[in-house]
Amino acid sequence: MEKRVFFKGWWLPALLVAPQLLISFVFFFYPSGQAIWNSLFLPDPFGLKTEFVGLDNFRFLLSDPYYLASFKTTVIFSTAVSVSSMALGLYLAALADRLIKGAGVYQTLLIWPYAIAPAIAGVLWLFMFNGNIGLASYYLKALGYEWNHTLKGDQAMFLVILASSWGRISYNFLFFLAGLQAIPKSIIEAAAIDGASFWKRFGTIVIPLLSPITFFLLVVNIVYAFFDTFGVIHTITSGGPEQSTTILVYKVFSDGFVSQDLGSSAAQSVILLVLVGILTVIQFKYIERKVHY
């Protein structure tokens, strides 16, 4: 859609877009280009010169068991985080939507964790599950269950999923509640008059009508789990134990900054770039369908 009426002149608009273009070039296009460029080179161990290796970095990555393991970890992690936080968000939104009075109060009580940084959420849950002093690990021990996420990979994974989903419930709750409130009450009432129970209505009317928003949330949550959860993982496990919680973005960080393996880190950035690119295209397709005017 375009405006029919507009101002004349070209230097003023050029001046107006200049700041954003400049910042995008310096901090976005140049570094992204640099990542692609670096991914084709291999620095020697002393960092004195670099050698052009073509796609060798990628070939190496895709046959590197650690990288493939990290891929698998990312898939498990992001699926678990998206599904659990969306399920809880939908559950709470469905309950709040049933209320005539008080939905607003619950909304206030449920949405504020959105403001908590993933890294801080990580600290909160780490404190609860700390092997020596944590309340949760204390009671688990009392029940005879040995909790030590610094040694046991599956426990570490569980903890980072829990901490990441916890902070994400509010976001999903808000979107689902908005989606539920947009469903015309007349449809629901018609079904109720026909004798459909709450669960029947939920399954055959509400869920299908919510499917666009669910799809949108799925993409956004996967992007969240891919990148924004870095803080959670860094504070709770630092990718350990034995890389069991090293998701892709954490590996870019640890290979690039901790082990200084720049060629491999750049190649990993490019792979992530492509993955996000695909997710963005999917999301744009969705936005196109959603916007009607």
């Binding site: 901090f27 309950l95 049933r98 449920l110 959105y114 403001a115 908590i116 908005a178 720049l262």
Partner: protein, 284 residues
Amino acid sequence: MVEKKRSGYWLTHLGLILGVLFIFFPVWLTFVASTVTQDAIIYPPLPMLPGTEFFENYANALFRGSPEGYGAKVPVIKMMMNSAIMAIGITVGKIIISLLSAFAFVYFRFPFRNLCFWLIFITLMLPVEVRIVPTYEVVANLNLLNSYTGLIFPLIASATATFLFRQFFMTIPDEMVEAARMDGCSPMRFFFDILVPISKTNIAALFVILFIFGWNQYLWPLLMTTDPDMRTIVMAIDSMIPTGDDYAHWPTVMATAMLAMVPPVIVVISMQKFFVKGLLESDK
């Protein structure tokens, strides 16, 4: 509610209250831990009610830093200042450049307009984490490590806000511009006297979202700042928690965690209407 059933009504409340408790519980524990002595924490279980050391612990955290253990002796007040400068810098910077470029895209026709548009829109949704190593090099080459400029500018390079303002400007009736032009109004006058005032709610909504985004930045400040005086509160808390057998002064750490949460939570709750609008409309 379509039918009226008392049992269902109470079950609805019960379910919601359980959800609220699950959300609140970790924060409540953190609050409790920030009001007790170190001894109360290191000999579990932790009590469920706040202790008496509230002022002592928060004063320690704010002005002296944790008294012992790893990452000690850095006052949190300085970190909060840094976080506030970073968050507000990102928020204001993004809003200004996005308002300007959205204005240009919607109200002007100029050469390479479509190209510029796509160049900016490609940056949508691609987070800084993906290109972190080269971005770090750019900032290092520009001598911007350990500076507010270096903390702020790389995070402004994204098109979310531009997208939102463009969408909003599109809905403004053309008659507005026609009337303004007929009265001999210059483009910039139109921008400042008409466009910005009617965008107020959108600006407020974006303010909330971007402030939280800025305050909660973690990886970028972690890489950027080696000078303790430049650290932000969210990234610094990690250095207070020991990885090995070192011990932390937990009451101070937990007080710091509370202090890191309070400003963005206050922004969300006090501007809830704008927050909800911003979140639902900016689609992240």
